[in-house]
Amino acid sequence: MGQQIESALRESMQRVVVLLVNFLPGLVAFLLAVVVLMLVGAVLAFLLRKILTALRFDERLASRQTPGAVTNVSEWSPANSPTLLVSRVVWWACLLVGIAIGISAFNVSVSDTPTVALLFLPYLTHLVGAALLLIVGTLLARFLARSVLIGAVNAQLQYARFLSLGVKWLMFVLTAAMAIDHLGIGGNVVVLAFGILFGGIVLTLALAIGLGSRDLVSRSIEKSMDRPATNSPQDITFVPTETPPVPPLRHF
């Protein structure tokens, strides 16, 4: 009995060791690919930074763009330097390529362990994609919300903040739905929930704007309904109006 237990334990231990031995080269290959590509990326980024600095890339780009414009590359760059942006993009691209190569190397080396390959690896790549989607979506939501807020305030809309919040949440919901869909979680439930939420927000905004401008619409309809009755030539009675001219303001 004891011998059987001992033998069973030894066999399972042996299986664990074999599994670990199969797994380790893949892990080493993954780490090696990431480290090598990181180093390559760092060298490339360094060289690129030196070359662009020598070419006065930032100054040339700045002279081609309108100050304060939303489309300015420097507005989006770290430390307002497009050179730094380019070099960092190159470094991160190399890192991502390294991760992709590492994952494929890992996949090959542990292909005889289908459970890990099927469940873990696809998620790793999808997780990176979903994280990127979330980051970009959040940045875009904040930017658009501010743009809408300022534009609405300058257009003297009373519900500027509400409009801005609506746009922000629309973007958040859209981004979250895209990220979850990218991860393959939930399937149709996510699409359905997104449709309901998105439609709900749009309907709320439409109702808010419609109710806010109710008086304006009713006045406009009243005017258009009154017009045919007073348009016949015999009914026209000219009433001179003496509204004083409003003094104009000239900003420039």
Binding site: R64, V153, R250
Partner: protein, 407 residues
């Protein structure tokens, strides 16, 4: 009722026209044939004995030339876009002709120049011929006109570049050849980048170069209106251009003691508004400012210190009858926005958009204070400019040490 403009002659300049042998180059924008005829007639009256070379992008009628006046139809090397004031492309084109003909004075006239009087033309040309590098006209404006200039352009230029030039973004200008060349060099950088429509700031350029600047009181002229329908975009464009220019010239204006050019003119030529000032309803403007405070408070808090925010809160709660933005608060607000522009605290497009409601608040306060009185308006504008000058050390200190504690 309008105040008769007083044509003032610079103290160190002859009242008589410039020397006869000095060629004056006059650069005109595209005009209708009637407007061209009127402009040429005014030029003949203004400078009858002087050799004149008039450059126009339009076709020249054969009968237009005569006497000392020559006309040249010139295809501009940099495409112009018919802007409401001369832009980088116009300065560059003026220099392209000036380099070829070597004039003593370059007279750059803006749109609707047919309404510039001969007396103003004579003063401009005489000023530039009297060794002044940049001579700008100061046209009479009503208390409700040129408000953005009164709120930001004039006070900021005066405080930072120490020149009492009432309209630093000129419609017309007289330039010495070296001033024209300097402006063309600045314009070249912009036009090469496809920004021929960009604005140039001649006063700041002249100040940095150490050139002499002079402004003369001109007679009433039709002030061209900007093409843009969107005032918010226009305000952001002009303010952005000025802020960028100030940022580029920071090394100059940060000098501890710039010699302030003396204010030669104490009585600005102004004209009263033709309309009843009480007819202007300020309530929507004030309500708009309150709405902006409610919605943009969080955004402003990224740019303005707590003191300014508190003052703005008080202002937003003030009744319409006592709505008054203190000059010191306005000066500090503009400086803080300028600092945020430099530090890129928030996106620059957003920053300039967030400045617009504050400016409209200042406009409401200004109009409430001055009503329709042109003299009171000028006095208030001078007080605002003085507030900007008084607060300049704050700007310099925070420009150098932006992270210093700022209550």
């Amino acid at each position: 009722m309008s105040t008769t403009p007083v044509l003032q002659t610079p103290a160190n300049m002859d009242a008589s026209p410039s020397p006869c042998d000095l060629l004056t180059l006059v650069c005109l924008p595209s005009l209708t044939s009637e407007a061209l005829d009127a402009t040429l007639a005014n030029l003949r009256v203004a400078m009858a004995t002087q050799p004149l070379l008039v450059v126009t992008p339009d076709a020249v009628p054969p009968s237009a030339e005569g006497g000392s006046l020559r006309i040249l139809s010139h295809r501009p090397s940099a495409p112009t876009h018919g802007a409401w004031i001369p832009t980088a492309a116009d300065y560059l084109n003026a220099w392209a002709v000036a380099r070829e003909h070597r004039p003593g004075v370059v007279l750059l006239l803006g749109p609707d120049c047919a309404t510039v009087s001969p007396a103003t033309l004579r003063l401009l040309a005489a000023g530039a011929a009297s060794k002044h590098d940049l001579v700008l006209p100061r046209y009479p404006v009503g208390p409700h006109d040129a408000l953005f200039n009164s709120a930001i352009l004039y006070p900021l230029t005066r405080a930072l570049f120490s020149h009492h030039v009432r309209f630093p973004l000129p419609i017309d200008a007289a330039l010495s050849p070296r001033m024209c060349e300097r402006l063309a060099t600045a314009a070249q950088r912009l036009t090469a980048a496809g920004q021929g429509e960009a604005l140039l700031w001649p006063v700041a350029n002249a100040a940095v170069a150490g050139y002499s600047v002079f402004d003369v009181a001109g007679e009433k002229r039709l002030l061209p209106a900007p093409n843009a329908d969107d005032v918010n975009a226009l305000i952001a464009n002009v303010a952005g251009s000025l802020f960028a220019d100030v940022e580029a010239k920071a090394a100059f204006w940060q000098r501890a003691r710039l010699a302030m050019s003396p204010s030669r003119v104490t009585d600005y030529a102004t004209e009263a508004t033709a309309h009843d000032p009480n007819a202007l309803d300020l309530a929507p403007m004030i309500q708009s400012f309150r709405n902006a405070y409610t919605n943009l408070r969080e955004l402003w808090s990224l740019v303005l210190p707590p003191n300014s925010l508190l003052a703005l809160k008080k202002l937003s709660l003030a009744p319409a009858e006592t709505f008054r933005m203190p000059d010191a608060l306005w000066a500090r607000t503009v400086y803080d926005f300028l600092l945020a522009y430099r530090l890129r605290t928030i996106n620059r497009g957003h920053l300039l958009g967030a400045l617009t409601p504050l400016y409209l608040g200042w406009v409401a306060s200004h109009i409430r204070l001055v009503g329709g009185d042109a003299k009171v308006a000028e006095q208030h504008i001078e007080e605002v400019a003085a507030a900007f000058e008084g607060d300049k050390p704050y700007l310099v200190a925070r420009w150098r040490w932006p992270d210093r504690f700022n209550p």
